[in-house]
């Protein structure tokens, strides 16, 4: 029997690894991958609590999260490609095209 708290702690560790990746990396692709890590950390808790309370809703919600993560990855990668085609940068530091 594994207490549900363990899963919360594991998910938090994964989430904050993703946060560190988003904050410290410059490559937009690795930033997007760290965001995927954060999505998955949320899914771990959904599924762990669904199992703990034997309730399906966590599974449905995790499914929706996977769908939204797929949409986000597609749009993010499209933005990276377009930004690269316009200005040839692959550094999130240089992406200041929206600055007012």
């Amino acid at each position: 029997m594994i207490p549900a708290t363990y899963y919360v702690v594991l998910s938090g560790a994964l989430f904050f690894l993703g946060v560190i990746g988003v904050v410290t990396r410059r490559n937009p692709l690795i930033v997007l991958m760290a965001i995927e890590l954060m999505w998955n950390a949320a899914n771990v808790v959904f599924i762990a609590f669904a199992r703990a309370w034997l309730n399906n809703v966590g599974h449905v919600f995790a499914f929706l999260v996977i769908t939204v993560a797929a949409a986000e990855a597609a749009i993010g990668l499209a933005i990276v490609v377009v930004a690269f085609r316009r200005a040839q940068y692959v550094d999130v530091d240089e992406a200041a095209g929206l600055r007012g």
């Binding site: 991958m33 890590l37 929706l64």
Partner: protein
């Protein structure tokens, strides 16, 4: 318990490798290991359908998309291999802040007494049986029964994503700037002080 500890170690190690790897291709490999360990964790939580979806959608679709973009962008292009790959002077503050927030989360999780814990076996029926908790039949009954509206909303989300990606990809940039580097001239502003001096 052993399975949980092993999977947790695999998850954390592959996540660490993902965010510290130098080249994005190595990050993709770390992320692939992470997703496989996650699928195994979902299986141990008797979420069979979601374990399959994790492998199909994440490892099969999203990671391949990442690999395509890396192959598209980094062919013969310098900045992917060279140059500083981390933001300067932000590593330590980021790690300290994340650790503090993580400590707060652990403290909060310990405060709350979660009564249920996750058992080792299938709750209702042997694993592999057709209609147990987390199986396709069980999941489908929930998804197409009471949660049909959120499911249809995901269809809307995907349509919006497709429309957005097509709009982004149908190159809105003018033909001159397409494909090669264009140095935009810095906009030179009139020095305000001189005009003021003239007026004065």
């Amino acid at each position: 318990m052993t399975i949980f500890v092993l999977l947790a170690i695999a998850l954390l190690a592959s996540a660490l490798f993902t965010i510290t790897a130098k080249h994005p291709v190595y990050s993709v490999i770390g992320l692939l290991l992470n997703f496989l360990a996650l699928a195994a964790l979902y299986l141990s939580l008797s979420a069979e359908f979601l374990a399959l979806i994790q492998i199909l959608v994440y490892s099969g679709a999203i990671l391949v998309l990442f690999v395509f973009v890396i192959a598209l962008l980094s062919s013969g292009v310098k900045p992917f291999d060279s140059g500083p790959n981390k933001l300067p002077r932000i590593g330590m503050p980021a790690i300290v802040t994340a650790l503090v927030a993580f400590g707060a989360l652990v403290w909060g999780a310990v405060q709350v007494p979660f009564t249920p814990s996750v058992g080792p076996t299938q709750p209702n029926g042997p694993p592999g049986a057709a209609d147990v908790f987390g199986s396709v039949a069980d999941f489908g009954r929930a998804l197409f029964g009471p949660y049909l509206l959120p499911f249809e909303m995901t269809a809307l989300v995907l349509v919006i994503a497709i429309v957005g990606v097509i709009m982004l990809a149908s190159d809105a940039a003018p033909a001159k700037t397409r494909g090669h580097h264009v140095k935009r001239p810095r906009r030179v502003r009139e020095p305000i002080t001189k005009t003021k001096a003239k007026v004065g």
